[in-house]
Amino acid sequence: MSAMLAAEGLTKNFGAVTAAADITLSFDADTVASLIGANGAGKTTFLNMVTGYLKPDSGRILFGGRNIVGLDPRQVTKLGISRSFQIPQLFSSLSVRDNLLIAESVAAASDPRSAANAALARFGLEPYASRLAGSLSEGIRKLLDVAMALSSRSKLLLLDEPTSGVSADEKFGIMDVVMGAARDAGVRVIFVEHDMDIVARFAGRVVAFYEGGIIGDGPPQTVLRMKDVRRYVIGEEAPHAQA
């Protein structure tokens, strides 16, 4: 069995709201997985539990066979799970290059300066290297956010809505860059996404969340056609996944 990340019986309630209802899932190292679902379905809660930001009420999360429940975000990151955010989390008063330099220095790269330069090149951020992170457009901020997450020690990269807030014509370009960089670095990717065209194009497996549970799990062409998924996740009218 080659599960790199596995959740067993994960439960999380916020008062009367169930954000995770006994979720059991495992992700192997070979397939890019996408988590879909309407707002409040539990996707980001799942990411937050995996990265130690939230502690599940019960259940286990195994990363490389080790239970990581109870570790804080810093410890989880050190094990090799990194993440990007729906709203990019940057160091706004520092330059793009310094943002990456900090990421690589913290990740204890042997030569942080050239690692940061490599990241600049890989993500096409060189023209922005000396701009302040706070002054960038949303698309570039998203790229920088992912570039920082994908530092030299990541093994698994979790992306929370990598294309939200980005203009429609930029979306595919950004995903191409991100997925290409992750592939080159040998890093596995799980991403949360609302845009079904992006999901159909980049994911090898789709997990559909609804009210804290999972209502569909499989290859995109199957899951995106399931009745419940179309009803609760996509919304009835749009048969997106005709591809």
């Binding site: 990151t77 989390q89 940057l90 913290v106 920082m148 997450a149």
Partner: protein, 309 residues
């Protein structure tokens, strides 16, 4: 290269002042260095986005540690006093820092203020330490060399000044590299720092420790200059003065705290001489003017000149 040039200039100035300045100027210079190094510590904290309104705590601890050495244990060596001041303050910071490093913003500022006022209260109530009057200290030697009475302060100024230069260079080196960037990163976005795998708590803790140790050294140096300590050293107005000087100067260079402290001491001396009843108001007006016209501090004047040149 600029650091080397700055160091040489600073050392030459120190040598000149120590050798030939009148006693009143030697005294002023010691106070300026003492306050400057406390403010340098504040700037280190400010890099992480934290302002301490309680550096008087460490200033007071440093001053009393130095004074106690001479008064209670009859050790009159200034080197031992300076070391004792820095160590006592550093030790206290290493304990209080465990708690304070978990707080941010106004909570950090107020907690640090609270601790300094606890020390103030203890000193005021302590008859053995002279209560509100404090007590005198006298340093007669440096590193075992007994000094002639009129040379004492000159030697202390030079030796203390060399320590200040070395300390400032160490801080500069630390803050110019990864550590300084990480501190700024914490000010900008702590969540991201954690998610990169670094500990904001640890960075804040160590910066707090540095600030505490520097303030303790400054307190001991001030005690050597004045020859007397009293609870005022730990009072909130003293802490406020450090914040005042920090804002006055700005945060752009490690030279700033010393320039700003000199400006502050000069301003206060002049104000209390020519307008003894309203000298605090004069300081307040100066502060208002700085905030309105030079929001980045006095140092922005130097930068403006460099840009237009």
């Amino acid at each position: 290269m600029r650091a080397v040039a700055g160091t040489v200039v600073a050392l030459v100035m120190l040598g000149g002042l120590s050798y030939s300045a009148p006693q009143w100027l030697v005294f002023m210079a010691m106070l300026v260095l003492a306050k400057g190094i406390v403010v340098l510590g504040l700037l280190v904290l400010m890099r992480t986005g934290l302002v301490s309104f309680g550096q008087g705590l460490y200033f007071g601890i440093g001053a009393y540690a130095a004074a106690l050495l001479s008064h209670h244990w009859y050790i009159g060596d200034a080197a031992a006093m300076l070391l004792a001041g820095a160590l006592a303050a550093g030790l206290t910071a290493s304990i209080l820092g465990l708690l304070l490093a978990g707080y941010r913003d106004i909570f950090f500022a107020m907690l640090s203020l609270a601790f300094s006022m606890i020390l103030y209260g203890m000193l005021v109530k302590s008859a053995a330490l002279g209560s509100t009057d404090g007590f005198n200290l006298h340093a007669r030697a440096f590193l075992g060399f007994v000094l002639a009475p009129d040379a004492e302060r000159r030697v202390f100024l030079f030796a203390g000044g060399v320590c200040v230069v070395v300390g400032s260079l160490l801080v500069h080196t630390l803050m110019a590299g990864h550590w300084g960037r990480l501190a700024t990163a914490i000010r900008d976005n702590e969540l991201r720092v954690s998610y990169l795998g670094a500990s904001p708590y640890r960075v804040v803790y160590l910066n707090y420790l540095i600030a505490g140790g520097l303030a303790g050294f400054g307190g001991a140096l001030a005690a050597l200059a004045v020859g007397h300590v009293d609870p005022e050293t730990a009072y909130w107005t003293t802490s406020g003065e450090f914040v005042f000087i920090a804002i006055l100067g700005g945060t752009q260079s490690i030279l700033v705290p010393y320039v700003a402290a000199a400006f502050f001491e000069a301003l206060r001396t002049i104000a209390s001489q020519y307008a003894p009843n309203v000298w605090q108001m004069s300081l307040g007006v100066a502060m208002l003017a700085i905030i309105m016209f030079l929001p980045a501090g006095l140092w922005s004047l130097a930068q403006r000149r460099r840009r237009s040149a």
